[in-house]
């Protein structure tokens, strides 16, 4: 089943939990070969939007379109083209790095598991620690492993929720380089982040969320921090 797309569209997406509005009519388009950043204060709805994009959560109204298909048609075919790196890295601490990757590779039905896993371990820079149990890894190492796990099946759309959290400077730069590489491979990358410094120069498009609402979408190349602060304060003044 080979399904692909080159555009992710949020069309009027709203989501509420009981009486609490988590997202209100978000409209956003992301193209292949783009890194789109979701910025906003805590509780803005960034994680909810990512969860909806990953098909783990259904919108209360509106729809998400992956090329021509909608989220409602989501099935194994669509899921095989998505990769999610959540805040909780989705790794089994009792298994080794290699075993974690092998498990997910087999679960995703990939061919040539051993070669794929070996390549992923190399890219994560964890080849020497491959047979060490993950519970002994630092946050940065786990992050690198989790990123490779999310990329094992070569997804078209990569969703990252606060990937720079807890990373030291070197690891952060390495992640930025990796994401640039993915963009060059014409994937769609959607990143939710607080870290304006690391995101500086990385993002092609910036979407600012606050209280579930999309305040602004910006493609300009002006300083990220300035743009963000401006948007948030003008929204508060309104």
């Amino acid at each position: 089943m080979s399904f692909d797309f080159d555009e992710l569209v949020f069309a009027d997406v709203s989501r509420n939990f009981g009486r609490r509005r988590a997202l209100t009519r978000v409209n956003l388009t992301c193209h292949a070969g783009q890194i789109v950043g979701l910025l906003g204060p805590n509780g803005a709805g960034k994680s909810t939007l990512l969860a909806i994009a990953s098909t783990l959560l259904a919108p209360s109204s509106g729809e998400v379109r992956y090329g021509a298909a909608t989220g409602r048609d989501a099935g194994p075919g669509l899921r095989s083209r998505l990769g999610l790196l959540g805040h909780d890295l989705y790794l089994y601490p009792e298994l080794t790095a290699r075993e974690n990757l092998q498990f997910f590779a087999r679960l995703y039905g990939l061919n040539d598991v051993d070669a794929t896993v070996a390549r992923a371990l190399d890219r994560a820079g964890l080849a020497e620690r491959a047979d060490d149990v993950v519970s002994g890894f630092s946050r940065g190492m786990r992050q690198r492993l989790a990123l490779e796990r999310a990329l094992l099946h070569g997804p078209r759309l990569l969703l990252l929720d606060e990937p720079f959290t807890g990373l030291d400077d070197t690891s952060g730069q390495a992640l930025v380089a990796r994401l640039r590489g993915l963009r060059d491979q014409r994937r769609i990358v959607l990143v939710a982040t607080h870290d304006l410094d690391l995101a500086e120069g990385l993002l092609d498009r910036v979407a600012v969320l606050r209280d579930g609402r999309l305040l602004a979408v910006d493609d300009s190349s002006a300083s990220l921090r300035e743009r963000y602060r401006e948007t948030i304060t003008s929204a508060a003044a309104r």
Binding site: N16, F17, G18, R19, R21, T24, R25
Partner: protein
């Protein structure tokens, strides 16, 4: 639906006013005398409880598989009524047993079955109340599994109680008793229907208030 509600409510009230008269005029049962007359309320309540359990189970299945929020509103109404009528069964049962046989509870097959079904639907309500967000779906699973369980409960409790089960008792009613019995059964079912519709309407209005609340934010 709304226009017929009030007249039907009136009919139900008249039926319940007339019921004690009918029950009083019914013949006495041979061995138990006056005490047996509690059966005119006990058995119809049990019938309604089982009916309600099925309504809840089916509505829950529709909610789970068709994602129909409207079905969930029927389900919660039916779930609450199952517990309410079940309570009537479980109070009148021991009262009858105490007077007729001297003990409050003797693990009679039918009462035990009713207790089990009642507990399943009490659990249904507990999950809805304390399960946090999204607990409507979890409760729906409970109702569905509970409904699917009824035949198993029936067989296992019957055979647990006695290896050679007795044949059922209700089908052999004395002629004079049938009239009042079916009169009461009808009144109970009518009352149940009205309560179900009213409760569902309440739930729907709650939902509409929530929608209005959300629309304020737009």
């Amino acid at each position: 639906m709304k226009r017929t509600f009030a007249p039907l409510m009136l009919v139900a009230m008249v039926l319940f006013a007339a019921a004690p008269l009918m029950v009083a005029n019914a013949p006495y049962e041979a061995s138990m005398g006056l005490v047996q007359k509690i059966f005119y309320y006990h058995v119809p309540s049990a019938m309604v409880m089982f009916l309600s359990a099925f309504v809840c189970g089916i509505a829950s299945a529709v909610f789970l598989f068709k994602r129909s929020a409207a079905a969930d509103r029927w389900a919660v109404a039916a779930g609450e009524l199952t517990v309410a009528f079940g309570l009537i069964v479980l109070v009148t049962g021991p009262l009858w047993a105490r007077k007729a046989w001297g003990v409050w509870w003797q693990w009679d097959a039918r009462l035990t079955m009713s207790l089990l079904l009642w507990m399943i639907f009490v659990a249904y309500l507990i999950v809805r109340r304390y399960g946090g967000a999204g607990s409507e779906k979890l409760a729906a699973a409970m109702a569905l599994f509970g409904m699917a369980n009824v035949p198993f409960v029936y067989v296992s409790v019957n055979y647990w109680r006695t290896i050679h089960p007795k044949t059922s008792v209700v089908s052999t009613l004395a002629p004079g008793m049938r009239g009042p019995f079916w009169f009461c059964a009808l009144s109970f079912v009518l009352l149940y229907g009205l309560l179900l519709v009213a409760r569902r309407r309440l739930e729907e209005q709650r939902y509409q208030v929530e929608q209005l609340h959300l629309a304020l934010d737009d």
